[in-house]
Point group: C2
Chain length 257, copies 2
Amino acid sequence: MSRTTALEILAVPGIPMIEAGDDLAALVAEGLARASLKPRENDVIVIAQKVVSKAEGRRVDLAAVTPSARAIELAREVQKDPRLVELILSESVRVVRSRPNVLIVEHRLGFVMANAGVDQSNVAAPDGPQFALLLPVDPDGSAAALRQRLATLCGVQPAVVITDSFGRAWRRGTAGVAIGAAGLPALLDLRGNPDLFDRPLQVSISGFADEIAAGASLVMGQGNEAQPVVLMRGLAWNAPANPAAELVRPAAEDMFR
Amino acid sequence: MSRTTALEILAVPGIPMIEAGDDLAALVAEGLARASLKPRENDVIVIAQKVVSKAEGRRVDLAAVTPSARAIELAREVQKDPRLVELILSESVRVVRSRPNVLIVEHRLGFVMANAGVDQSNVAAPDGPQFALLLPVDPDGSAAALRQRLATLCGVQPAVVITDSFGRAWRRGTAGVAIGAAGLPALLDLRGNPDLFDRPLQVSISGFADEIAAGASLVMGQGNEAQPVVLMRGLAWNAPANPAAELVRPAAEDMFR
């Protein structure tokens, strides 16, 4: 396998506040041009979920949400707005854990995560109408579409990773993870490669796109989307592409839900 | 908070095979000098756990291990070498999940991880005596000592992160995590910082050192330690240092063990 020896993670400057319908790939291409960054093959464009969701119109006005009886009951337990809980349930296939201030669900895409990714940060001013933002409908599809559009605009086809910050079992603090990917192996299977002593590697399936997301998150900044687009340059891989859906452990294999 | 806009992650070249008693910091300093990399404040030296463990003499000859009755019974269930299981149990406070080929424990330092980090890859040739490598006794202490020694050798005091690759609940593939840290906030609490609309951020405690570890892992290579030391340059933070022990969620707060 080709080796990564030097990696650059660069903020793409000047990405504006994103509105529904914006041509996000064009804004990324403009930002890259502004920074005199000419995309190359094997570059990875890493994009925060929030700007993808906004461009795709996934913002919901809470005033338009009518909570179900189940949402009202669960909202009482977890001490959240029943309309928010209604949105969370509508994005989920089941509740994994609920406690005051905690609602961990299995998102319809299989992600085990807090609040089904439904978020109110960076969405609207606190004194106006209240909005919430949902994950993209199909983040792997979004990544593939962004990649295709970037190829048209830039002439080369970088890989694309869409990131979110997830809490983890057993560990405190959130970390960047990949919810969408195109053009690289989100899950990288190295089993059978030799170790330094030519002993086959045993635990050698890497959450490659999750590590990309976590590294990019160091530049995006935590919880804030002032730098929502990042270019990662210098990464080598030598395996077929697969989507971020591959990073989701099927419930039947999972010992912790 | 000061902003990270460009991050470099560079392999430190020429780190030799590490033996017990090696002056790891001196080898890192030599590697940096070889690459004409002069350490700076706010640089992070990221070091794979395996080379730290080797330098600290944490290699155990399996021939010297006598498995207990409990280890023999558990080894039968998980289909592993009873001597290896004995070592795993000796490094653990309890078994979290066991199945054929799976042994997830709570390590004595609180890490919920496979095999208590006891590993046979990159330790010895498959046809000779069989060795296993344990985690450092005190990885935060190891990081602090390496940092101190690097300061003496280099004149500036970089931060140090010691990494391992952990499997995760709910997601496939491993990702780099920090098991030791010195000189930076392993857990970075941003609660109360404003979002883009001056709404206080809500979920804003970042597993900062875990994201550093994951990003560095992209350069170290997965499962192989040909590039076990990495320099991360360009990272900005503005919070007091805390150790990697802060990343461990106390069992009493944890909903998934």
